[in-house]
């Protein structure tokens, strides 16, 4: 076995980054080609498929706890059949409910929308769109995936221990997450959660450093930074955000691990839990929240920026028009990346934070709405007077803009500390971030998958299934999350599994049922997509032309099914920006075409 991984030919053949004619003739085994592959395209697919598997798991968890929220008093014997003591008597036990909520958050935020989204598209698109044969370090790139895989295995293992996985919410605030006496989920499950996340951070750093160095150093001739497609810029800022913020989470989690197992008091002070007086004094529970949100807020943009980048690209291509305001788009990405680090405490307005400090964070938080507004208006202007083709990717891109507007505007409520006093930790927050970060980024991801699937597998996804998937998902997303804002305005707290005993919060029984039903339908529609995805890999309509969408960027100059190294022969030279659509009466002008003598300037 061992000679398969460290085959000398495999290593050397990937170190060639020159523009010389380069075709791979070495023999590839199944393992080097599909498992321990160092080809960025294969690694991208590995991230995508792992992400899809995680998305099904995470989505299924949400269906389970929606069942509890919609029908708190009914029994579902199947739950006991499937989950044993966790579904005792056909009811979701509180331990199970909180484990489900926690895992849904962790899985979707980190494993699906971080690894599955930027892991997939950074790997696939960076070398292809900048004109490189592979990443700066294909080996570290491979490790990045396998650390993610390891992190996944550790997280999955925590589902099968007797005390269950972590159950203190995806934000794992101590002391709840630090004290095994305080919750079942804070026992072994929490240690596994920390170990898994530590491995995940390693994966993310390996990937991020690779993306940054590849983009900075390995662009093909003529590809100046301002000729990069916006996807690449977005992925670049995403990688920078990750490299700067994930280590802070890592240190925060290590301190938590120490508090849990070594008797330190970083986050613990003055605690009497389950009748037991703990010796810890002098720690600060709020310190963890600062460390957590120093990652946690940039994380939101780590999730959102790649979606924004891909949406910009897809909107421009399918409007047959240049993206409007390329430099403004770039500037707003940059502004968002900077501001992402300066707004974290808006998650902590009601923790007893100094009100003056809070006011600074209000200002910076609402400031971030300005670059967001610029992006929205630029997208709208890109559509204006276009000649729009509604491919499934394009529809998802339009859906993204719609959701980003809706969810972004409710951010103005929550970023304003005065209103946040009332809305903090209510269902309003759930509605807000699911629309703007969850569903919107998911739409960005779908846009990317539908658009680049032909490049990944040399086949098309089925269009009709794509349209059905889009319309159910868009309508469903609004039907689920729009009415939730009203529950939030009524002050219904998050993470309540049954509101019937509350006088102030029990007026939404019918609504909760409705939301549950819609959530199940939307989940079923996602399975339709999953089916389409795997079916089309093998049976989809074959791509016959090299450039099926009529796009300008470099990935469409490669063969329909590019091998490792991407281009047969020399890497093409770039002569122009990637958005010359509809210029001088021509439908599109690829980046590789030299600027003509009589061409108009923009």
């Amino acid at each position: 076995m061992s000679d398969m991984h460290v085959h000398p030919e495999v290593v050397t053949s990937h170190e060639v980054h020159s523009d010389e004619h380069h075709v791979h003739h070495h023999k590839e085994t199944f393992i080097t080609k599909y498992i321990f592959s160092q080809d960025h395209k294969t690694i991208g697919k590995q991230f995508l498929i792992t992400g899809i598997v995680w998305a099904i798991v995470g989505g299924f968890f949400s269906v389970l706890f929606r069942l509890q929220l919609g029908y708190p008093n009914e029994t579902f014997p199947i739950l006991e059949t499937l989950f044993g003591k966790w579904g005792a008597g056909g009811h979701i036990t509180p331990e199970f409910y909180y484990a489900l909520v926690t895992m849904h958050g962790t899985i979707l935020v980190f494993f699906v929308l971080t690894a599955g989204l930027s892991g997939t598209f950074a790997n696939l698109l960076i070398p292809l769109q900048i004109g490189a044969r592979d990443m700066a370090s294909p080996f570290l790139n491979m490790l990045s995936y396998w650390f993610f895989f390891l992190a996944s295995c550790v997280m999955v293992s925590s589902f099968f221990i007797s005390t269950g996985p972590a159950a203190g919410g995806w934000t794992v605030y101590p002391p709840l997450s630090a004290l095994g006496q305080a919750s079942q989920g804070s026992k072994l499950g929490m240690d596994l959660w920390i170990v898994s996340m530590a491995l995940f951070v390693v994966s993310s750093l390996l990937g991020g450093l690779n993306y940054i160095s590849t983009i900075l150093n390995m662009r093909t001739k003529g590809m100046s930074m301002t000729r990069l497609p916006l996807t690449i810029w977005a992925l670049f800022f995403t990688a920078v955000l990750g490299v700067l913020s994930f280590p802070v989470l890592f240190s925060g989690l290590i301190l938590l691990l120490f508090d849990r197992n070594l008797g330190t008091s970083f986050y613990l002070s003055d605690i009497v839990v389950a009748g037991q007086v703990l010796p810890n004094e002098g720690g600060s529970a709020i310190l963890f929240q600062h460390l957590f949100w120093f990652l946690g807020h940039p994380e939101v943009y780590i999730i959102l920026l790649p979606a924004m980048g891909m949406v910009s690209e897809v909107l421009s291509i399918n409007s047959r028009k240049p993206i409007f305001g390329y430099m403004a788009m770039l500037g707003s990405l940059f502004a968002i990346a900077i501001l992402a680090f300066l707004v974290w405490a808006h998650h902590m307005f009601v923790t007893g934070l100094n009100p003056f400090l809070g006011s600074v964070f209000v200002l910076l938080t609402l400031l971030i709405a300005v670059p967001s507004a610029i992006k929205v208006f630029n997208w709208l202007t890109t559509l204006w007077r276009g000649n729009i083709r509604f491919t499934p990717a394009m529809l998802f891109a339009i859906g993204f803009v719609s959701l980003f507007i809706s969810g972004g505007l409710t951010g103005i409520f929550l970023g304003n500390s005065t209103i946040d006093i009332h809305l903090h930790d209510t269902v309003f927050v759930v509605a807000h971030f699911h629309i703007v970060m969850g569903v919107a980024s998911m739409f960005g991801m779908f846009a990317g998958v539908y658009h680049w699937f032909p490049k990944m597998f040399g086949r098309f996804l089925n269009n009709t299934l794509g349209y059905v998937h889009f319309w159910i998902t868009l309508a469903g997303a609004y039907l689920i999350f729009w009415p939730m804002h009203y529950e939030g305005l009524a002050g219904v707290p998050r993470r309540y599994m049954d509101k019937s005993s509350w006088v102030s919060f029990n007026q939404f029984t019918e609504l909760n049922k409705f939301v549950t039903v819609v959530a199940m339908i939307v989940f079923a529609a996602q399975l339709l997509f999953v089916f389409n995805f795997f079916y089309s890999i093998f049976k989809g309509r074959k791509v016959r032309s090299q450039n099926p969408w009529g796009a300008n960027t470099l990935e469409w100059t490669t063969p329909v099914r590019p091998g490792h190294g991407n281009w047969e022969g020399e890497i093409p030279e770039v002569h122009r920006w990637p958005y010359d659509y509809g210029k001088d009466g021509r439908d599109f002008i690829p980046q590789t075409e030299a600027v003509g003598a009589n061409e108009s300037k923009h």
Binding site: E95, G168, Y173, P174, P175, L176, A182, S269, D270, I271, V272, V273, G283, A285, S319, K321, I323, F324, G325, Y326, A328, G352, P355, G358, V362, L366, A369, V370, V376, W379, T381, G386, I388, F390, I398, S402, L409, I412, F413, N416, S417, T418, I421, H422, H424, N462, L465, W482, Y486, E487, A490, G491, P493, R495, D498, K499, W502, S504, F505, H602
Partner: protein, 353 residues
Amino acid sequence: MQAFFIVAILLLAFLIIFQIAKASEYVAVLRGEDKVRKQTNKINGFMLLSFLVLGLVGVFYCNEQLKGRILGTPASDHGVLIDRMLYITIAITFIVFLITQVLLFWFSYKYQESDNRKAFYYPHNNKLELIWTVIPAITLTVLVGFGLFYWFGITGNAPKNAMEVEIVGSQFKWEFRYPGHDGPDGKGVFGKKYYKEIDEGKMNPLGQLWDDPANYDDIYVSGEAMHLVVNKPVKLIIGAKDVIHDVGLVHFRMKMDAVPGTPTTMWFTPTKTSKQMIEETKNPDFVYEISCDQMCGTGHTGMRGTIIVETQEEFDAWMATKKPQYLVANPGKDTKAAPQDTSVVKPVAAIIK
């Protein structure tokens, strides 16, 4: 059996959708892919416009259905400000929402692919960029201005005449303490406490230090509602014993975390008695509720407390029925009961560093 049918129906629906999808692909090939593509394009363009119209109708319908079940009138002075800020924000964001969503879907519909149109090459316009940088910036400045003005009022110092109540959260209950009347101007002073003294068995659930005289008249309340006086500012001193909790007072629109080891405070003035609220909401079961708004463990959902807002007289009458915890924990000190030797109380001041 029911589950089986649901699964069977789902599978069948999947199969049908898949067959249609597969067939449509063949039809496309037969009839000419370009022609079919253009037809589907028209359908999707129309769908986008319909989605906009139906969506806006839905927004209106949803509001009609649910607007009566949210907010209600705020029951505190701060609540009035917070609601005002909320309505200003709703108004502004809804206008922006309408404009941008209408443009998005209208442009998509209007500029759908047509053989008669060529896309307009329009890469940038700095004047436009400036307009939509400056206008949002000004709007947001207004919102920040209002917001911070209210924020500093709400989070500023409590008025001098505010009554103080301590509220302590633990899995999964709320406990309260009133400071009595031992201060210089008749206001109470809370006695010191230390968490290692917490011992329910010794009738000291908050860890009060019995050698601090300020503790002698502090009233401990649990298992019943917190009582507050209408139109009298109240400052809550918030603590937690085990994990982070949060004092959520939905009708007063107030919220503050309860953090073990780090006391927090918030103040407000209740402006309506519980009886007034019962009349106003026409709900005989109405009660001010304290919800825990920070995930605190398996019993989070049930971590409920209640508040009764009443007149000063009613409050005083209620308070008169209470006995300081000092006397409960040290029955020997209760002069009204059997007098005993005073040396029973163990000095614990040495513990405080």
